[in-house]
């Protein structure tokens, strides 16, 4: 009864094809969210109530309220269909025939010297990655903003200011470092949101990763494929959260002491 995603393909083979694609997409999306969310959250907290703060808060609230697949549709419609700046679907354009080494399209192009393949892969990554990065961005922004606000009120920051430390030193050594802990915690949780988002946007962009395969498997109620894919997603999710827990020790010496 169940036909599978590609009939006749072993689930393990499908996994090895699609897993690198999803990792690539998720890494780019998380990096985008962090690059935008952490500095903006910091600046918004320092100039609380200012225009940038209000704009950031509004966009982060919207980021949570907009269904991610609708956002994916909007991005695709605007930048691919209307403006034609970026490819609408897939991982690779027709005519680009990249050699497969690692399975990561962007890295393979560099390794084999086929730079046009790398550029092409990056172009295909932009829209799915931006769509996926929205929710993590909104969450990272809000959490970092709240954490910085919290830390700015701490006695040790006032002490550091009182003893005349450079603003730069206080910023990097006292404020940002202490505000990092809740942000790092949320990264682990956001990976879950990313995996779910990949299921929802995978079909929109026909990005052949785990998400796309999961969406088909759900629709077909293909339980054996579902088990493999969900297990894979879960291993990634739990693994990232383990790494996050371990990284506390790097950031906070108080954790290391125990």
């Amino acid at each position: 009864m169940s036909t599978g995603v590609q009939p006749g393909t072993a689930a393990s083979e499908m996994l090895s094809q699609r897993f690198p694609a999803t990792v690539e997409l998720a890494v780019v999306a998380i990096v985008l969210a962090l690059l935008a969310g952490i500095p903006l959250g910091y600046v918004a907290a320092r100039r609380r109530g200012g225009a940038l703060d209000n704009a950031g808060v509004i966009s982060s609230l919207l980021g949570v309220a907009v269904p991610v697949f609708f956002l994916a549709f909007l991005l695709k419609y605007l930048f691919a269909v209307r403006l034609g700046w970026l490819p609408a679907t897939g991982r690779q354009s027709v005519g680009i025939n990249a050699t497969r080494v690692t399975g990561f399209a962007t890295i393979d192009g560099v390794l084999t010297g086929e730079l046009d393949a790398t550029v092409d892969a990056l172009e295909h990554l932009v829209l799915p990655a931006v769509a996926l990065a929205t929710i993590p961005f909104a969450v990272v922004f809000r959490i970092n903003r709240a954490a910085v606000l919290e830390v700015l009120d701490e006695d040790y920051v006032r002490t550091a200011e009182a003893k005349g430390l450079l603003a730069r030193t206080i910023r990097s050594g006292h404020v940002v470092r202490n505000a990092m802990l809740p942000v790092v915690t949320t990264i682990g949780l956001q990976v879950g949101a990313l995996l779910a988002g990949a299921v929802l946007t995978g079909t929109v962009f026909a990005y052949r990763g785990l998400g796309d395969a999961l969406a088909v498997a759900f629709r077909e109620r293909d339980y054996s494929v579902l088990q493999v894919l969900i297990l894979a997603a879960e291993i990634v999710y739990v693994g990232v959260n383990l790494l996050v827990d371990l990284s506390y020790a790097l950031i906070d010496p108080r954790v290391r002491a125990r």
């Binding site: 309220a65 697949f69 549709f73 299921v199 997603a233």
Partner: protein, 282 residues
Amino acid sequence: MTAATNHTDARPGTEKRPRPRRDLFGRKKRLDDLADSGVSLTADAWRRLRRNPVFPLGAGIVTLFVLVAIFADALAPQNPSVTMLADQVVRARNEISPAQPGHPLGGDQFGYDLASRLLVGSRQTLLVGVLATLIGLTGGVTLGTLAGAIGGAVDTVVMRLVDVLLSIPSLLLAVSITALFAKGSLYTVIVAVAVVQIPVIVQSTLVLATSIIDAAALSFLGVGNPDRSRPEWGQMLGEAQNFIDSHPSLAFYRAICIIVVALGFTLVGESLREALDPRNRR
């Protein structure tokens, strides 16, 4: 001459006092209002809630949404479960009728009046949100209380179960639960959306917003509620995906409804959290 008198700000009467800046949630910098102590938590929270410029907006959206859901039948310009007869022919060619007198937003992909479907759909949307939140809340609070109060083996079992729920990204879990049922219905959607909220019961209004969006996601993936006699926004938006290139307006109107309502619940939830957080009391 001391350093202070050199400083222009230090002249009497012209001291540069930090302007109490408020952010969107009406929070002031904490040290500015140390004077307000000696008020009960509730009174204090209520006072901060009323000062919060975001709260009326969110509360307004939520109130309007609930009113629309109650009076949907009276507001709907057409009967939402009767197809537009004049358009039967058009519908046969898989076209979507444009806006016309009596049908302010035109028809949908089945030939129903879109505006009426949207108005009536608010009911199921509210039902999904409220029921999923209530079930999640009851489950979460009961399990948490049991684990805390009895302790020992019960605590261990409950906490490990919650760990299992938390180890799967919530939407994947919700979709898996609905996929277990041979046929989707409004209630499988509610149960699935509720179960994944159990571990994260922190703020019920925020859960309401996520429930509505999660329900939309389930329909989008084709495991939602297939019953068209009781339309629901998430289901409607999910079904609009096939017409996104030819008729983006179908998805657009439905998405706007979901976004505005989810935003309303989020705003109310956020301002309640701000107001009730004891750390903001000063």
